[in-house]
Amino acid sequence: MTSKKTIKSAFESMMFVWGEPLDVKVAAEIFNMNWKDAYDYFIELKEEYEQEGRGLQIREINKSFQFVTSFSNVEYIERLCTPIKEKRLTQQALEVLAIIAYKQPVTKGEIESIRGIKCDRVIEGLTKKDLIIEAGRSNAVGRPILYGTTDSFLGHFGFSNIKELPDIEDIAGAMNLDDPEELIETGQLEIEF
């Protein structure tokens, strides 16, 4: 039985070589170990890096882990190599993305009824950026396409998983609403795979 220390050290090296998010399952298979144990080791590693305030941090994206730079060092990295900043998403793209993220799987019709405006172009753009993906079809008339977010979405916004999105009712609470109960949409979609 390989010691925990060895495994964690190996995981570190593997993440370094891999660059991209390393799937916990893949890492666990290498040691022929339980998936959950491997996950816990990764979390431990992640916490260690956080506690020590290292220049590298470990980021979780949907049960995969990857090394990223520490947020606080952005200034020095920019001085070193002036990285190109990605173009920020527009407000309408963010609105559509927010609706998809919180209501997924969701049809274009539903998105449009919330925003009161067509959004074909925005959806096309978000799909191209690999932030959203078609996630089956609704059983409603015309079997419209359902949209959901991707792992790239999680990475782009720094969420470990979709559950990490702040509770939408908490955001609503910030608006000082008298009766947020009414906000909850009850219409649930049936999804067919």
Binding site: E20, I77, I114
Partner: protein
């Protein structure tokens, strides 16, 4: 591009409506419909000249606002059998505004997250082939996509085979009769006896086409009286001989 002209300012009808309500510091549950409708219509009036397509998207909500406004003017009646519950004509609109606002807030949150995340860098996956013994090419497909592709391949193959059954392949003519005649002519001339058999003209690997071509060429040469041909027995050797007169004539 319509979308660019328009709404540098407002992302849609609800965005505009929310702005108007907030700007006039109204309670969302007690919207002064008349005032908001007026302001809303003024805005549409302005953008109408910029882009009709975009303006139409604002029209539906304008119509809803006007409808609500007119309903507000009517005396409100308690529906019979109801326990004193009055339906506010604005209720549905308020709900939709709140729903929109909720996601607008979520969008703002995503915006902040995005900004924060732009300060975090990740390393791209490097080319690891120099570390791997067998630089395999990985097919980045899930099993379903793979199955679909494989089925397509099988179907295509089947179709091609069916077509092949009915048609034979036409090969491009490799050599013309004229070329072959020149070759044969030269071959006979180089032969010391000026006399050859047909068999000699055929190469070992000659296919049906070449054999027929050679035969046709010989026939043509006979017609032109370049050669004489004799076949003493049926299916026997064909002896081809240069026509001496012709040869002298050519010289």
């Amino acid at each position: 591009m319509a979308y660019k002209v328009k709404l540098d300012m407002f992302e849609g009808p609800f965005d505009l409506l929310v702005y108007l309500i907030e700007n006039s510091e109204m309670n969302i549950y007690d919207i002064q419909v008349a005032l908001i409708t007026k302001q809303y219509l003024e805005y549409i009036e302005k953008i109408k000249y910029l882009d009709v397509t975009v303006a139409t998207e604002f029209m539906l909500l304008a119509a809803i606002l006007i409808e609500i406004k007119s309903k507000m003017l009517l005396p409100r009646l308690k529906p019979e059998g109801d326990f004193g519950f009055e339906e506010d004509p604005r209720a549905e609109l308020v709900q939709r505004i709140l729903e929109y606002k909720k996601f607008k807030q979520a969008a703002e949150l995503l915006d902040r997250q995005e900004e924060y995340n732009q300060s975090i860098f990740e390393k791209l996956k490097e080319d690891l082939t120099q570390y791997t013994r067998e630089p395999d090419e990985y097919l980045n497909l899930d099993i379903k996509q793979f199955a679909v592709a494989f089925n397509l391949f099988l179907n295509k193959k089947k179709k091609v085979e069916e077509i092949k059954k009915n048609y034979s392949r036409l090969e491009r003519q490799k050599q013309s009769i004229e070329d072959r005649i020149k070759q044969i002519f030269k071959f006979i001339k180089e032969n010391t006896q000026k006399k050859i058999t047909f068999e000699q003209l055929l190469g070992e690997n000659d296919g049906k086409y070449e054999k027929i071509l050679t035969f046709m060429s010989v026939l043509e040469m006979i017609r032109l009286r370049t050669v004489n041909a004799k076949q003493t027995t049926a299916f026997g050797d064909i002896i081809i001989q240069m026509n001496e007169e012709k040869m002298r004539g050519q010289r």
